[in-house]
Every structure is written in C-alpha cells, then in structure tokens.
C-alpha cells in the first residue's frame, strides 16, 4: 500500500547508499559462496527446485519403501480434516505457489529479502531454514501478503496474490502464526470455527459442511477432548494445536506454518509432523514450514530451502541440499549429516566447542 513512501530510496535512503552496500554489494561481501559454485545441480532458482524434482520422486519413493519407523504417520493418524471443498488436488505437479524476484526492505532501508525466486509444488512439505535474521519469517509474511513486496511478485495458482480479494486469498492460503494469544475465553471449537470465516457470510453462520470441517480439524489435532474448554485455560502446546486446527479449518491447498513446533514437546512435535505428512502425501496439500528444528526438518522435509542474509543459498530435495558443508556455510555450525536407519531420514550431529564429542540428536531419538 504505502511502500515507496517515506523510508525509501528518495529520502534518507539516498544518503545511506554511499555507505551501505548497494543491492549488488552483498553478493560481493556475503556470497563468494564456494557452495553456490558447486551447487550447479541445485542453483538458487526455482528452476533448480523444479529441475531436481525427479530426484525427489525417486527419494520419496525409496523412503516410502523403507521400513516404516513412524507407524503413527500414515498408519494411525486419523485422516485429515474432512473433505474440504477448497483443497485442489488437480493442480498437477507444477508449482502452485511461487515467487519471482522477490525483494523486501524494512523502512530503515535494510534489505531483508533479496531477489528471491522459488517455486513450491503441491503434495510436498518444504522447510525454510536459516539463521535468525535470514529473512525466513519475512518470506512467510510476503507469501501470505501480510507484507507487500518491494519488488517482485508472489504467484498463487499462477495469479499475482495482490490481485486476489482478501477472502479469496484466504481460501487458497492459510498461515499458522508463530505468536498468538487468546484474550477472551472462546472455546476451542469456537476458535477453530473462526477458520471458516473466508467461506461465510456477514453473520458467520456455519453450514453443516462447515461444522464437519471444523470437527474434522479438531479430531485431526486430537483436540476432541478439549473442544468445549476455554482456550484461555490451555497449556502452550494445546494452544498451539488449536491455532493449527484453526489454520486447517481454513481448508486451503497451501498451508504456511511459522515455527509450529516451538512450544511442543518432542512427542507432540513428532505427532504434528506426522500429521503434516498426512496433509501433504494423502491430501496433496502444500506445506511450507519455517523452523529452527533442523532435526525434525531432516526427517520430515521433502524439500529444504536455505536462506542467509535475505538470500537464497540452496533449495531442493532434502537429501540433495542438507549436508555438512551447507550447515557450516549457513549456520557456521560444525555438523555431520548422515542417513539414519532409525528415523528413516537424515540425522544431524553437531560438534560443540571443539571438544570433539558430537551431540547426536537425531529426531527419532527424542521419543524413544
């Protein structure tokens, strides 16, 4: 709306340009990227993500065939929230959400996202990772149009998200926020029902179908027992599941999760990731998660997108992107990534303080 007004180049920015690096400069300073040279297979472009899709198919297939280490995953977790009208499975395999040349600066002129181009395909779980300040959350904000890009576009089903009326966008794309608070004693069911807002008229009357979707979302996140309880009386983990249920009640083909496991314990986090897997594999949803939990990502992400300093560092199937060189480059952490038979995915061990003793924390071990 009001981009391009006060803080932008014309004003104070003009003066700063002398000292601050120009848009081109970060490449010189921050990215002599030994990595990006070697990442010809997965260059920081949508093309790379899409190009390596075949590899993912292969990897996914073999993972399916691997012994099921998470029986709770496809097996015992209930089916996703009852069949939402909105979720489109017929989108083929092309990206249903993509960004082209996306850039964003805060009012102070600091560029938080630079020229990002990416495509996200349905039926897959993408994890967006990077150190604090890498611009991950800003990317989610831009994807969900909580912020308007400075330049570039966000395409939702091929159409610029700026052209969507708000309610229509809310039927295509849902987002579970990282921070939330419940100020009034709505019940769990009432909060989840609010997710139906984009489908309802002015007075918010729920049809039978809306009620079914709400109940489905409540069941899907195991909130049945709490459905009539006031949300103000829930624990942090329960409240987070309520927020997720509300997001699922929106019944969108695209779901953005911002630190969804931040206040969950290990068992709850695994449970949640199992359910996300149901959404992506069984229902064809696209899920994009921002998380700091690389261990979970290593096991559950179909694809990973690594960012640093607002730039894309690498994107592609988890197996192709998640490796120790990348972790060293992005997080400056000395880590070892290996195939882990126990979790059925990758596992990461970090070396601390040069002691030489790696603290292995494969995602699978937490609940054992």
């Amino acid at each position: 709306m009001s981009d391009g007004t006060p803080g932008d180049p014309g004003g104070p920015g003009g003066g700063k340009a002398e000292t601050a690096p120009t848009p081109a400069a970060p490449e010189a300073s921050g990215a002599p990227r030994a990595y990006s040279a070697g990442a010809a297979a997965a260059p920081p472009h949508a093309a790379g993500v899409e190009g390596s899709q075949q590899a993912l198919q292969g990897a996914g297939g073999s993972r399916q065939a691997a012994p099921q280490v998470f029986p709770g995953g496809e097996g015992s977790a209930p089916a996703g929230p009852a069949r939402r009208g909105g979720r489109a499975r017929d989108a083929g395999d092309g990206p249903i959400l993509s960004v082209e040349g996306l850039s964003f600066s805060h009012g102070t002129g600091v560029r938080v996202v630079s020229d990002l181009t990416l495509g996200f395909r349905p039926g897959r779980h993408y994890v967006l990772a990077g150190p604090n300040g890498a611009g991950k959350s800003t990317v989610l904000d831009l994807l969900s149009r909580l912020r308007n890009p400075e330049s570039g576009r966000v395409l939702v089903f091929g159409k610029d998200s700026a052209e969507y009326p708000p309610a229509e966008l809310a039927r295509a794309l849902a987002r579970a926020p990282q921070h939330f608070q419940f100020n009034f004693s709505f019940t769990v069911r009432e909060i989840v029902s609010l997710g139906r807002r984009p489908y309802l008229g002015r007075w918010g009357r729920l049809s039978q179908e809306d009620r079914d979707v709400v109940e489905g979302a409540i069941e899907f996140l195991n909130l049945g027992r709490l459905a009539d309880k006031p949300v103000t009386a829930l624990s942090g983990g329960e409240a987070q599941r309520v927020v997720l249920a509300r997001t699922l009640a929106q019944a969108t083909p695209i779901i953005l999760l911002d630190e969804p496991t931040a206040s969950l314990d290990v068992a709850q986090a695994l449970d949640l990731m199992d359910r996300v897997r149901v959404l992506t594999r069984d229902e064809g949803a696209l899920v994009v998660t921002v998380t700091h939990d690389l261990h979970l990502a290593a096991v559950y992400a179909d694809e990973m997108v690594f960012m640093n300093g607002g730039r894309l560092v690498a994107a592609g199937p988890t197996r192709d992107t998640l490796n120790s060189e990348l972790l060293l480059e992005v997080f400056e952490a000395d880590a070892e990534v290996r195939q882990d038979a126990f979790s059925g995915g990758l596992s990461i061990s970090f070396r601390h303080g040069g002691s030489g003793s790696g603290a292995s924390a494969g995602a699978g071990e937490g609940a054992a």
Binding site: S76, P78, L169, A267
Partner: protein, 387 residues
Amino acid sequence: MSDTTAREAALPASRPSGRRERAADGVAARRMSPWLLAAVLGAGIVAVILVSLKSGYMPFSPSEIWDILYFKILSIPRLRFLTLLGAPDAELDPSRVLVLWDVRLPRLVTSLIAGAALGLSGAVFQGILLNPLADPYTLGVSSGAAFGASVVIVCSILFPAAAFLTNPLVAAGGAFAASAATLFVVMLLAADREGRLPPPNLILAGVIMSAILSAAISFIKYLAGDQVSSIIFWLLGSFQARTWTEAGIVAAFFVPALSVVLPSAVDLNIMTLGVRSAETLGVNTGRVRLKLLVASSFAASASVAVAGIIGFVGLIVPHLVRLLTGPDHRSLLPLSTLGGALLLAAADTAVRAFLPGEIPVGVLTALLAGPAFLVIFRRKMKDLVHV
C-alpha cells in the same frame, strides 16, 4: 520389531501429554443461552420502564400512564389513524401529561439510550483493544468531553453577559466537539508508520491525552473559583432535566453506531486472534478497527455530552455478559447494549425516585459497579491460578 512396538506404544494416536493437558479439564465453559439472557434483559427493561414512569414525586397509575401515552401518540399527525382503536380519554390533567411526557419519559429514554451506547461501545473497545479492562473512555473520550463542557461552563461564569452559554445544550455541544477532537488526536498519536492503530499505542495515547486534559480541567476548576460546583456536578453525570432534545442527540449517534457495529461482530471475533491471524483470514483489520473505533467513540461521546461522565457501565456490562454467555461478539454486542440500557435506566430511576436527595447517577453506578467489578476480578484471578 520390538523397537517399533515400543515406539508405537509411545506414540498413540492421541498422545496425551499428561499433567499439562489435564489442566483444562476442570474448566469446561459453562454458558447461559444468549436468547435466555436477552429475554431476561428485555423483561428487565420493560419492568424498569414501568416502575420508572410510575414512581417519583408525582406517582402515576398504570392505566393513567397508558392513557397519557396513547393521547400523546395520537397527537402525532401521522399516527392519527390509530384513533380507530378508540378515542383517547379527554379528561387528562395537562400538568400531569406534562410531567409524564415532557419530564419523566425523555429522561428515561435518554438514560436508556445513553446506557445502551455505553454498553455497546464498551464491548467494542474491549474487543478491539484486546483488553477486558478497556472501556468507552479508554481513548480519552470522557476527558475530552469533560474538558469541552468545563470550558463552556467556566466561560458562562466568567462572561455572564453571554447568556446563551448557560443553555445546557451548549455545554453538550462543547463536550461533544472536544471529545471528537480528542479522539482524532489520540488516533493521530497512535498511528504507526503504515497508518495502523496498534492497540498498545491507542491505550498509551489515550492515557497521555487524558492526563493532559485532566490537568487542564483542574486549571479550569481553579478559574471557576467558588462556582466550581457547577463543573463538578456536570462531571459527576446526571440525567436531571433532560428533554427530548437530549434523547434525540444520543439516539442520532447511537443508532448509526449500532448499525455499523453489529454487522462487524464476526470480524471482531476474528480480530481477537490478533492482527496477523485476522489478516490471513481475509479481514482488513485497519479499516474495520477505524470504523468501529469512530462509531463507538461517537456514540460514547454523545452519551457523555448529554449525561456527563458515567463510569463503569461500559466496563462492567460487557464483562458480565461475557461471563454469562461467552465472548462471541455476535451475542456480546447486542446483549451489552441491552444490559447497558437496563443498568443505567435502573440506576437513574433509583436516584430519581427512591434515593434521598438525587445523588448524581454517575456516583451510584460507580458505587455499585466498582465492588461488583472487584468480585469478578477476584473470581478471574482464582480461575487463572490453575492454568
């Protein structure tokens, strides 16, 4: 295999995590049906209307009330056709007609509408500011109105030649203008760079403006010298000697506010989730918030302008309603409207007809609602303990 079985046992489909999950078990939301509460409040309002018209220095019997109302209604040209239902009693005493129709009824109607406006805007403010302690005066509406009225009153004291200043409607006009100006300044102060109005900014800006205006009012009181009591009495809030004009003024702001606010009930529900969640659910929070703040502030300003500052109605009524029927604004807004009307009309009837003296109604509402609020607050604190 044994590994898998062990894990399966550790990861049941419902994965209850023990202690913390059970925390909520004891606190199922027990709620009253909104329709039942609406019926109770409606019956209460009817009862207050009857008792209020009946009681006072000059008592009326129900049949006399009926005769007078019928007579007056038939004297409205458009409603003449109702004469078909029977001719009005011609034996009415004009002075009694005057007392009921031109003194008691407008006062009652003004208190009903002012109470409704305060209850409604209190509910809106609590919802928008995400703060159950907010009330219609949070944004400085009352301080602004008090300042405006004080200026008019002190001018009428300092310049006795300007007789028009003693007209209570001039004080009301001054109060309304000043409170609208205050609202504008508070919003200007609270707006962030993107033109949004974040609740914490609004509350802070309101507190700052109130503090400044209070200081100004103190200065005006000092100027008023030994006639300061006329300012103090205005500030305490009263419906004494209110006419149909005052009733019309509050109604003129309350009815549009109601028609703006009620259809936004669902958006208000969504906005309690926070701005970011609301935006991703397709609600234009900036526009909705501005619309609701302006509408409900104007309704509150109008009620302060005609009745002075009546505290606690806008705070406690939405609170009680939420406690009884839950926080859904689709029921909260209309029920707070009814509740505010009932509370204020009952309080005004009590001070007029039943309590000695005619203490200002604002004093009574504060005396009643303050302790009630304390009880609610303690109960809430106890609830919070076992979260």
